[in-house]
Amino acid sequence: MKRGRTGLLIFIVVLFGLALWVVLPNQGILGRKGFTLGLDLQGGSRLVYSANLSEKDPSQTDAEALAGVKQTIERRVNAYGVSEATVRIMQNEQGSFIEVQLPGVKDIDEARKLVGRVAELDFREQVFNATGNTTWVVAKALGSDGQEKELTGKYFKPNAAVALNPNTNAPEVAFEWDAEGAVLFKNITTRNLNKPLGIFLDNELISAPTVQAVIEAKGIITGLETLQRAKTLAIQLNSGALEVPLTEIGRSDVGATLGADSLNKSRLAGIIGLAMIILFMIIYYRVTGLVACLALIVYAVLNLAIFKLIPVVLTLPGIAGFIVSIGMGVDGNVLVCERLKEELRRGSTLERAVEQSFRQSWSAIWDSNVTVFIACAVLLWLGTRTMFANPTVTGFATTLFIGVALSMFTQVVVTRAFLRTVVSVGLAKSPRAYGVSKT
């Protein structure tokens, strides 16, 4: 055996070993993690909002306002404790959209309120209008710089916290004013002593406590129905209000058990399918088939390792894409096997037949796979344009693309190295071992 070939064989074995080590589900060693699963496999919720940019602060550009919304939502979901949540901005001629993915979230209704609300808090005082009725008007006061300002949640320190009222046990949110807020609040409470002061969230009255003393440093918001509501409000106050209002235009939830069920089913299907391919290849192509299957296993493990390392978010369509790419990987091997049979029938020596079969099948493998790449590229483009169907489309295209690219590599490097080894070591010499009947 030539030295270069031995080196290549060792390289393949080492690569395979490393890949296997990455793939095996042994967690926690040297920071190895499991596969990144999409919402459809691990359960969770996906929300798509349309951003109403006409209500943005005129001094901001659209991009700034959207980036602000994204950051605010990220702060909120992080504080809520959703690990691996993702927030993405999508803009096209239909408008501007924000997509929020919340993997593993349990209480979706609460999460929706947390994410989607503007959460602008303001304080209002009662004013008698001309007809003698009372209306709520946003309280204004002179700030430290002598300018009149509205009293809103903007002046809170970001340390609002949930507390339980010691007497009634009702949930409350305690907050502290920053320096400017303290000045404003002192002015306003002085003016409204023994009068009600309304606390409004997104123009909705939460509570209207009566001012009992002049306060400047801190305050308490009561009138929250549940503890969860109080927690949500505290997170929103600490993360700040959204720059523009959002409208929910799409929602998809996957239950955790239904997701796990899909994962198990497709895993089983994949294993059975792969086993059938291996059986078929060995029966039909004998030695070449066996070699191709070994290469196929190397390929599958390398592929899974890449999914883990990048990491690729695995979704159901993504798994389907992976499986289709296995089919295409088989295709390359079938092309080589068929050529090998032909060469042997023509009476070539085994060594020559192996070399020829790779050389001649390459143009077909390359040209046909490029067309798959074109289809994948278009699917990926489609994924950036479709807000909602996005994970299905991109999931399939990504795994198919990686799979097909890798299959070309394993074909040229792995299958060929294996076949050359089998031939040069003299493991199988009769053409019959390659599925060629005596002519």
Binding site: Q94, I249, S252, L258, S262, A269, V330, V372, V378, T392
Partner: protein
């Protein structure tokens, strides 16, 4: 040796019948658009104990959803398709069903899409299919640039590809009408997968024809093409079979969520094998030799 090229009239006739039937089905029944394209809400509900379908339908009607379509997907599990409902209505619906059916909902999936998104999806999908076809046409024309008329190779590949796509879409139209099969974004993904796989098959056959042409197997292009097709039969059937093993396993075991994707691939791969062996090369022969009458099934068969 089987004469694939000589029997081309028959192949064209079979395909023509299939395509015409497909177009009729599409014209009469159309496609049953899923949530992605038509907007609306799709729910999967898993109940704690077995629920009677008729009872579930009655409960939904009582809740005001009399136009809901319901399909059982597994034991005590149902797929329900409704008009677009708000999150508040969804919560009320679940609570209403739990009360009315006297059982708990143990798990649920929800997929709701508004009309804005649905319209954008339809538009982008059409653009994507067109771009993919043009891209593949250009690539094949380039890959076969050393052939005398490369654009013919590209065009024939695209025609054979469209043949497969029409049949896949037509089968979904029939299934939509017979079995309520909906067309969703996963279907589109499957169709574009078919685009890749189908062209893959055609290119392998064309590659063989190109090779035989270079070798000068015969001066008759029909013979050259037939040799190329013959040499690809083993590969096409074997690859197709190997892929179909996995696809069928996925279809039977893989859960209802990806059925449209898998089914599109199943049909597409099957017709892809047929079109690569019986249509693509034959179209090229017709064009190269100018035998346009072969496209008409009633034309006199050459002796």
């Amino acid at each position: 040796m089987i004469d694939f090229v000589g029997k081309k009239q028959w192949f064209f006739l079979i395909s023509a019948i299939l395509i015409i039937l497909g177009i009729i089905s599409l014209a009469v029944f159309g496609l049953k658009w899923g949530v992605d394209f038509s907007s609306g809400t799709a729910i999967t509900l898993q109940f704690e104990k077995e629920v009677d379908l008729a009872q579930l339908r009655q409960q939904l009607t009582d809740l005001g959803y009399d136009r809901a379509t319901i399909q059982p997907t597994a034991e005590a599990e149902f797929f329900i398709r409704l008009q677009e409902i708000s999150s508040e209505e969804y919560t009320q619906l679940k609570e209403g069903l739990e009360a009315g059916l006297a059982t708990n909902i143990t798990d649920s999936n929800l997929y709701t899409v508004s009309a804005t998104i649905a319209m954008a999806t339809v538009r982008n999908t059409v653009i994507a299919v067109v771009i993919a076809s043009i891209g593949i046409l250009l690539y094949i024309s380039w890959a076969f640039r050393k052939m005398p008329k490369p654009i013919r190779w590209g065009t024939c590949a695209i025609l054979a590809l469209l043949h497969d796509l029409v049949i896949v879409i037509a089968i979904f139209s029939i299934l939509g009408w017979v079995a309520g099969m909906e067309v969703d974004s996963l279907f589109v993904t499957g169709v574009l997968g078919v685009v890749g796989i189908s062209v893959n098959n055609i290119v392998v056959v064309f590659d063989r024809i190109r090779e035989n042409l270079k070798r000068g197997v015969s001066s008759d292009f029909g013979v050259v093409a037939n040799c190329g097709i013959m040499e690809s039969v083993g590969r096409s059937l074997n690859t197709g079979l190997a892929t179909l093993f996995v696809i069928v396993a996925l279809y039977l075991l893989g859960g209802a969520t990806i059925h449209t994707l898998i089914l599109a691939l199943l049909v597409g791969i099957t017709t892809g094998i047929y079109s690569s062996l019986c249509i693509a090369g034959q179209l090229l022969v017709v064009w190269e030799k100018g035998e346009w009458s072969a496209l008409l099934p009633w034309a006199k068969r050459p002796a």
